[in-house]
C-alpha cells in the first residue's frame, strides 16, 4: 500500500515536472516565473510601475543583478523560469553565472519569452542577442535616435527625447483601442529585415528622424533614417516564443510613465502613452493576448457523424474546428472571419473561409474534388500579433468503385434494345426454324 502511494506520487511528479518548467503551455498557462536581470538594483524602483503591473497580473518576478555570479536559467536540464526580462543594456562580455548569448538563445529556442531593452550605451552582448532575434541595432555605438522636429520639450537640448506616434495598428498587440497618447522614447534605433514575417515593428520613428551621435557633424547620410528606424519591435519565433526589443530602457521607467508630453511647436500637453504601451506589450509578450489554440478538429460526410477513413471523389463533407484565445485568465472563444481551410495535395484544390458561430466553433462544408490521391486538410492561420496555427490532417480520396457508376443510361437504350431484341429474335427464330413445317 505504502509503496503504491509512493509510486503514484512519483508518477505524479514525473507527469507534473515538464508542466512546471515548460514555457507558456496551453495546458497550464498561469503561474509564470520571470527572471528580471537588472544592471543596477535602482532600476527596480525607477521602473517600479512596470514591475508592479507584472506582479499584479500574477507573475513571480525574481530580481537579480545581471552580473550576479549565481545566475542560472536552468538546473539539471530544466528551465527555472518561463520568461526573462533583460534590463541590463551595458553589461559586457557575459552575464553572471556564465550566461552568454548562446544560453539566452537556447532559452528562447525552447519557447520562452524575452523582454530586452537597450539604451544609449548598449554592449555587444545585448546587440548580439538582438541580432540573433532578427533586430539589428545601429552599429555606431554612440548613435541615438534624434528628431529635430518631433521631440518633446521636456527632454535634453539634443532632441534625443523623441515622440513616437507611429504605432502599428493592431488591437491584439496594443490592446483594444490602441495607444492614443504620444510615446516618449530616448535611446537607440534598430532596423529589422523587411522580408521577415516574424518581426513586427510596433513603434517606428518619424520621417525626419535619424540615428547619429548627438553632436556629430553629418558628412554622409546616417545608416538609419526616417521611418525605416524601428524603435520598438516584437518578434514571434516559429515556436511561438515572443520577444520584445526596445531601443530605450527609459520607455519603461516610472518617469516616462508619469511624465506629461508636449511636442515642440504644439501648445497642448497630454499624458504619455508609455505606460499603456509598455503594459500592453508585456501582456502580448507573455501570451496574455493573441495566443490561439485549436481543438476538436473534425470532418465527416454530410449527414454522418463519424470521421471516415477515406473519402470518395465528389463526396460532400463537413469540416469544423474550435479555436480559443488565451486572455491571461481563461480560454475565450476566438472570433474572426478570416480562418481558412485548404484541401491540399501538392497545391490547394479547395480553399475555403470558415464560418463561425461566435462561440469558437469554425465550420464549413464543401465537395471533395474529382481527383483522387492523398489529400490534407490544412489550416495555416497567420495573422499579425497572433500565434500561428498550423494544422494538417491527412485523408485519402479514392475514385468510384465499378458499381458506383451510373446504370441505365438513357443514351444507351438503343444498345439495350438492340441486344434484347436480338436475344428475343434468336429465341423465337430458333423455335420457328426447328419446328416449322
Amino acid at each position: 500500500m505504502a509503496s503504491s502511494t509512493r509510486s503514484q506520487a512519483l508518477l505524479l511528479l514525473v507527469v507534473l515536472l515538464p508542466a512546471l518548467v515548460a514555457a507558456f503551455s496551453e495546458d497550464n498557462p498561469t503561474d509564470q516565473r520571470v527572471l528580471v536581470l537588472l544592471e543596477d538594483l535602482a532600476l527596480k524602483s525607477s521602473h517600479s510601475i512596470f514591475f508592479k503591473s507584472l506582479s499584479s497580473r500574477g507573475y513571480e518576478l525574481d530580481f537579480k543583478l545581471a552580473d550576479d555570479t549565481k545566475l542560472a536559467l536552468q538546473r539539471y536540464g530544466e528551465y527555472l523560469y518561463d520568461a526573462l526580462i533583460l534590463f541590463a543594456p551595458s553589461v559586457e562580455g557575459h552575464l553572471g553565472g556564465n550566461l552568454d548569448v548562446a544560453a539566452i538563445l537556447d532559452f528562447v529556442d525552447s519557447g520562452h519569452d524575452l523582454i530586452l531593452a537597450a539604451d544609449t550605451h548598449t554592449s555587444d552582448l545585448i546587440r548580439d542577442i538582438a541580432t540573433e532575434c532578427g533586430v539589428d541595432f545601429d552599429e555606431d555605438t554612440e548613435a541615438v535616435v534624434i528628431d529635430h522636429i518631433n521631440f518633446a520639450i521636456e527632454g535634453e537640448s539634443d532632441h534625443s527625447l523623441i515622440i513616437g506616434d507611429k504605432l502599428v495598428e493592431s488591437d491584439v498587440i496594443l490592446g483594444k483601442g490602441g495607444v492614443k497618447d504620444p510615446v516618449l522614447f530616448r535611446g537607440i534605433g534598430h532596423s529589422v529585415n523587411p522580408a521577415s514575417d516574424l518581426v513586427v515593428t510596433v513603434l517606428s520613428a518619424s520621417p525626419s528622424a535619424f540615428s547619429a551621435p548627438p553632436n556629430a557633424v553629418l558628412k554622409s547620410p546616417p545608416a538609419l533614417t526616417g521611418t525605416s528606424i524601428s524603435l520598438v519591435s516584437l518578434v514571434q519565433a516559429r515556436n511561438n516564443a515572443r520577444i520584445l526589443v526596445s531601443g530605450s530602457l527609459d520607455l519603461f521607467s516610472d518617469k516616462f510613465f508619469k511624465s506629461s508630453v508636449q511636442k515642440f511647436g504644439s501648445s497642448s500637453r497630454s499624458g504619455s502613452g508609455n505606460e499603456k504601451l509598455a503594459v500592453e506589450l508585456s501582456k502580448w509578450t507573455f501570451h496574455e493576448r493573441g495566443h490561439l489554440k485549436a481543438v476538436n478538429v473534425n470532418h465527416h460526410k454530410v449527414g454522418e457523424k463519424d470521421e471516415p477513413s477515406m473519402y470518395r471523389i465528389t463526396d460532400n463533407l463537413e469540416y469544423s474546428l474550435e479555436i480559443y484565445e488565451w486572455t491571461g485568465k481563461a480560454w475565450k472563444p476566438y472570433q474572426a472571419d478570416d480562418v481558412q481551410v485548404q484541401f491540399y495535395m501538392m497545391s490547394p484544390y479547395v480553399l475555403k473561409t470558415l464560418d463561425h458561430n461566435g462561440k469558437g466553433l469554425f465550420y464549413t462544408s464543401f465537395q471533395v474534388p474529382d481527383v483522387y490521391g492523398v489529400f490534407q486538410f490544412k489550416v495555416e492561420y497567420r495573422r499579425l500579433g497572433y500565434t500561428s496555427l498550423t494544422l494538417s490532417k491527412q485523408i485519402p480520396v479514392r475514385p468510384f468503385r465499378h458499381n458506383e457508376y451510373e446504370r441505365f443510361i438513357k443514351a444507351a437504350y438503343p444498345y439495350y434494345g438492340g441486344a434484347f431484341s436480338m436475344m428475343t429474335g434468336f429465341f423465337i427464330f430458333g423455335i420457328v426454324f426447328l419446328y416449322h413445317k
Partner: protein
Amino acid sequence: MAVVNGIVLVLAVYCSVTLACASLHPLSEAEKVAAKQLFISRDDGSFGSLEETYQAVKSLKLLKSDEVDAVKICNFVARSVNSTCGTKDTFYGIRTAELLHCQDAAKVAESVVPTLIDGLKHAKSLVDLYYTVDALSTIKKHHWSLASHSFAHAVEGVLGRVKALAGSHGTWRFAEDETDSSAKAAGFAFEITAAVIDICGYDSHESEVKFLKAAAQKLIEKSERDEDGAHYFDEFKDDKFSGNGGALIVSATVLRGITALAGVLPDGIKVREEKMFGFARFFLSIGTLDSATEAYYQLEALSALENNRILIPLAVSFTSSVLSLSSHDKLEVIVSTVLGSPFPHALLTIISAHKVGEETAPVLTDQELQSVEGDHKYIFDLVSDFEVGKYDLKIEVKPATAELSYKYSAGDLTSARITVTGKVSVSSIQIAVLDSDTGSPEFTTSLDFSKKEKATLSANHLQKLRVTFDLTSPSGGAYTPQQVFFKLQHESGVEQLFVVTSSGKNFELSLDFLGLVEKFYYLSGAYALELIVGDVTMENSFLWALGSLDLDLPEAPEGATNPPAVRLDATKRFGPKEEIAHVFRQPERRPPAQLSNSFFVLTLLPLVGLLVGLSSVGANLKYLPTSGLPLLSALGFHGGIAAILILYSLFWLKLNLFTTLNILGFLGMFTCVTGYLALSHLAEQSSKVKTA
C-alpha cells in the same frame, strides 16, 4: 610629453576640486511628488504606528503638503500615548503633537512624564536614552509639564553614561554589552547630548560636551566619498536597537545628530564645506525611493542641511537650458536651499560664456545677473550678445553679504550648458534640371519657403538635378545645421538620401544621374522629393515635400543588383488568401432523350419485322414432337436457351461473373444434353421423311 602629462594632472586636480563643491540641484518637483505618494494615510488619519505617523507628518510638512488631518492625528496621539506605552511610542507621540500643535499635547505630556523619568534610570541602550531624553526636552521646551524644572536633575549623569559607550574614531556602541561600535549609534549619542544641553544648559557638562564635539569632528572626517563627490557613511548592518541600517539611514542619523549638536554649542562645530556639499549631494542623488521610511530619512537629512548652524549649502538651478532668441527668453537662475525654498540674498555673476566647439574668446565675461523681487529669480538678458548655438556658462553664486556667507555657501563656480535657439531663414530655393554635358539649365524653378511650394519635374539619366538654397541665422550670418538631408523616395518605397553641403550660406546639391543609375537600382518612375533641415538650435526645423520628379533611367542590365526589399505595412503582410473552388470535370455531352428513345424504338423494329414476317409466312410448330421424350427434350432444350438468355439479363442486372459462370455451366450441360436429344430426334424424323 611631460608637459602634456602635467596639463592632464592639473586638469584632473581641477576637476576633482570642482566636483567636490560643484553646484547642487535642488530636490525636483517630480521627486517631491513621488515622495508624497509614498505616504498613505488610513481611515483614522494616522499612517500606521506612532513612528510611521510621525515620519509621515514630518515628511509631508517638509514637502509643504496639506494632506495631513491634524485633528484626527491629534486624537490618534491622545488615544495611543499613555503611561503604559513604551518610550519609543511616547517619543514619537510627543513629537507628532509638537509638529501639529495639538491642543491636548500638554495633557498627554503630563501623563507620561513620570514614566519617562522613571524610564531614564532603566534605559539600557542609546536608542532608549535618546527617546526618553528627547521627549523630555520637547516637553520642557513647550512647558507642557509642571514638573519640567525637575528634568535637569533627572538627566544628570546621562552624558556620563553616553561618554562611557564611546568607541574609537568617533563611533559609538549602542549598549554596554555590545562590542561593535557604529556611526549610527554616534548619531544618537550626539542627539542625546543636544537634548541634555537643551534641558540643563551647556555649562554643567563642559568636559563631556568637549569630548563629544571632538568625537563628532573625528567621525565626520571618516565619511566615505564616491566618484561623484557624494559623502556618506557606509554601514549596511541592521541592529536590534534601531532597526534598518543602510547608507541612507545611517548618514541621515549622523547628520541629524551633528547638526543638532552644532545647534546647541555656543561655538558650533566646524565642518569643511566640501563635506557639507558631499552630504547634500548624497541625499539629493539618492534617486527613487522604495519606502516611506527612506523618504523620511532623506527629507529629514535635507531639512537638517537647510536648517543648521554649520553651513547651509545652496542649490542653483536653471528654469530652462534652452533659450529662444525669437521669443526673447532670458537666462533665469534660481538659487534655493536643497529642499527648494528660495534664497533671495545672492549675488550672481556670469564669469564667462564660451561658445561650445569654438576656441575663441569668451562671448562675455563678468556680467551680473539681476534679481527679480518676489520671484526669487535672477535673470540675464542674453539677446544682445548671443548668436544661436550652445554655450558653456560659468556662474559664480555668492551670498550678498559677508555675514550671510558664514551661514550659506553655493560652492564653487556653477557650470551650465545652455542652448540658444532661433528661427533660421530659408531663401533662394531653386531646383534645376541641367544638361549633363553642357551644364546649361533646361528647367529651373524657384520655390517659396513660407508657402511650402511644390514643383513637378522630369529628368532622364543624361541630366543632372541641382538643388540650391540659402540658410541664414537670425543675426544674418552663415548657419550650418546638423541635419540637411535631401531625400528621393521612389514610388516603390526605395529611398535615396543625400547630405547637402554648404559653402557659407549657400547650400548646394548636384545629382548626376548618369553616375547614380546603379545607386538608384535603375528604377524609373515617380520620385517624391523631400528636404529635411534640422538642428538643436533651430526653432523652425522642417521637413518640406518639394514635389515630385519623374525620372527616366535605362533598363537594368543583366546582373544589376536588385533594389532592397521595402518594408510593407505590417497590417497588410498577413491576411486571408483568395478562396479556391475546385473546377469539376464536366460530364460528357449526351444525345437528347427523344433521340435515344427513338433509336431504342428503331432497335426493336427488326424484332417486330421478324414477328410480322413469321406470321405472314404462316409459321407453325408442326414439327414439334407431340409426346414422350422428344417433347420433353425439345421443351428442355428451348427452356435451357431461354434460361441462359435470362441468366445473361440477370448478369447484366445483378449477378457477378462467378455465379453466372457456375449457373451457366449447369444450364449449358442441360441444354447440351436436351439439345442433343431434341436435335437427334428432329434429324431422325427428317431422314425418315427423306427416305420416305
